[in-house]
């Protein structure tokens, strides 16, 4: 019997893997992919509770999360391309224009 608890544990695992990716990697593409992983974990949570409570509200919100993920990917990859044109790198440690 698969319970909501199983799904919440899976979502927690995926979310933590995403956080590890954001915190440890230097390649900006992989950081963006890790953010997508975290959004997926949130979607699993929303849909698990939607299934548990037999209401579609969770699924509607999952659709909004996917919309935001698509917008975020478009803008983020636009920034990556603009950055690559200026500095020829994907390494986030070399992007320090606004640090002081």
């Amino acid at each position: 019997m698969v319970t909501t608890f199983h799904y919440l544990l899976l979502a927690a695992a995926l979310f933590t893997i995403g956080i590890i990716g954001v915190l440890t990697r230097r390649n900006i593409m992989i950081i963006l992919m890790s953010i997508e992983l975290m959004m997926n974990a949130v979607n699993i949570n929303l849909i698990a509770f939607s299934n548990r409570l037999q209401q579609v509200t969770g699924q509607v919100f999952a659709i909004f999360v996917i919309t935001v993920a698509a917008a975020e990917a478009a803008v983020g990859l636009g920034i990556v391309i603009a950055m690559f044109k200026n500095k020829e790198t994907m390494n986030i440690n070399e992007i320090d224009l606004m640090k002081w």
């Binding site: 544990l9 933590t16 440890t24 992983l37 699993i44 994907m90």
Partner: protein, 174 residues
């Protein structure tokens, strides 16, 4: 029983591919494993009887966002970044922090496990008769019409922003 087996198969694929995404040196390999994770999550949605969301996951995530990632990887040089150092200097601190985080989440979930075992919810007869896509569509276009429109404006702004960020400057602007 079948449900449990399917859940464990999809969960294992999702978690293992997710670990591969954040450990591969080559970005193209990471993108491929991200695709595997997204497909496995679509399978998880199917075990939760959210067929519409599973379809949206495959079409929008794998067919849209992942292809966008692969396009950008194609546009920028991959070879040089493969040979660079892949991990930050503070990776030990990051791992310790993440371990504390997962321990906290699992402890909290475990303590609150009983609150998840609500009495079984009986779906309304009308909802049971309608398909999943129909239910989602009805909710989206009636109760959540305003958020839906705002989401479309968000997408429009994102499209314009992406074009502005990545277009070439005309001579007049320089």
């Amino acid at each position: 029983m079948l449900e449990l087996v399917l859940f464990y198969i999809f969960a294992a694929i999702a978690v293992i591919s997710a670990i591969m995404v954040i450990t591969r040196h080559n970005v193209v390999h990471s993108a491929a494993f991200l695709g595997a994770t997204l497909f496995a999550v679509a399978g998880i949605f199917l075990t939760l009887r959210a067929e519409f969301l599973a379809g949206v996951q495959v079409i929008v995530y794998v067919g849209g966002i992942l292809v966008l990632f692969v396009f950008v990887i194609m546009l920028i040089a991959v070879e040089r970044s493969v040979h660079e150092r892949q991990y930050n200097r503070q990776w030990t601190i990051a791992l310790v922090t993440s371990a504390i985080l997962i321990a906290e989440i699992v402890y909290g979930l475990y303590r609150g496990k009983d609150s998840l075992s609500l009495p079984p919810v009986v779906p309304p007869a009308a909802a049971a008769a309608a398909g999943n896509s129909e239910q989602v569509g009805t909710a989206l276009y009636t109760s959540y019409l305003l958020p839906f429109e705002i989401a479309s404006i968000l997408l429009l702004v994102a499209i314009v922003g992406a074009v502005v960020l990545s277009k070439k400057k005309t001579p007049a602007e320089e």
